[in-house]
Amino acid sequence: MNNSNKRDTLEAKHQQNRNQRLDSIKRWVEFIKTHDVDEWGDQQNRLVDSQLESARQSELDIEHRRQVAKAGREHSRSP
């Protein structure tokens, strides 16, 4: 496979992943719209609180966290 074909394959995979993620967001919105708040709220809060707990337990130092945050801000404003 030449470089151009490899790139096309990666692009197609990337697009497929992106579409799957967007589909899952729409499905979640539909779940919120059609289910009781106790059902979706509890699921969302467990996800949020558990991710924060994992982050708390990691031993990344403050400088690393600030560098990552800064890089993210700079990247997000790139064209």
Binding site: R18, R21, L22, I25, K26, W28, V29, I32, K33, T34, H35, D36, V37, D38, E39, W40, G41, D42, Q43, Q44, N45, L47, V48, D49, Q51, L52, A55, R56, I62, R65, R66, A69, G72, H75, S76, R77, S78, P79
Partner: protein
């Protein structure tokens, strides 16, 4: 809709607060005590509206204010068990043109990223802020208007930001002000991304 609605310019959230909400509510109450106008924006707003993801930082913009008021705020924050994990809160007045982190004492996540309003989009978020009412704890916090949040997320243009925009747009498509949204889309210059959003 199950427990989240945009009603007459108020976001009504009926779910229990999570860790992020609790920190935002506490900080907002302290800013109110000192009399500093503020607004929560960006990823936290998407999460408040039910987006199924977490964030380590809660972005909050505050109006430019006197050094005395900032000192008063710092005293209040430290008295209530908050600290500056990146730098001492005492340096808040000088650091707010960049941003300063505020977190629960000894913790780094989650933290608030606090900064002064600095451009017209920040100012619009502050001036046109709406109220989010968390009904289970009867707390209110100010958040940026959802239409501007969507347009700005499209401008930021990362997958995560586009997904946040899709979430807010899909959830509130019947209650958002489309003229207001389209005005922001044109002003920020994200017409193509908006077309893509509508087709998603």
């Amino acid at each position: 809709m199950g427990g989240i609605e945009l009603l007459d310019g108020t976001l009504v959230v009926d779910r229990d607060p999570n860790d992020l909400d609790e920190l935002a509510i506490q900080f907002s109450s302290q800013l109110n005590d000192v009399g500093i106008n503020h607004v929560f924006i960006s990823g936290y707003v998407a999460i408040l509206t039910g987006r199924a993801r977490a964030t380590e930082d809660i972005d909050v913009l505050i109006e430019r204010t006197s050094t005395d008021k900032i000192d008063q705020l710092v005293a209040e924050l430290t008295g209530e068990g908050l600290w500056g994990p990146a730098m001492p809160l005492d340096s808040m007045a000088e650091m707010l043109d960049d941003n300063i982190w505020v977190a629960r004492d000894g913790e780094m996540v989650p933290h608030l990223e606090v900064k002064f309003v600095s451009d017209e989009y920040d100012r619009s978020s502050l001036e046109n802020r709406i109220t989010a009412h968390l009904t289970t704890v009867d707390a209110e916090i100010p958040i940026g208007p959802l239409e501007l949040q969507i347009a700005y997320k499209l401008y930021l243009n990362t997958p995560k930001d586009f997904e946040d925009a899709v979430h807010i747009h899909s959830l509130f498509e019947e209650s958002l002000s489309i003229p207001q949204l389209e005005r922001w889309v044109r002003k920020i210059g994200v017409e193509d991304d908006y077309e893509q959003l509508k087709q998603t």
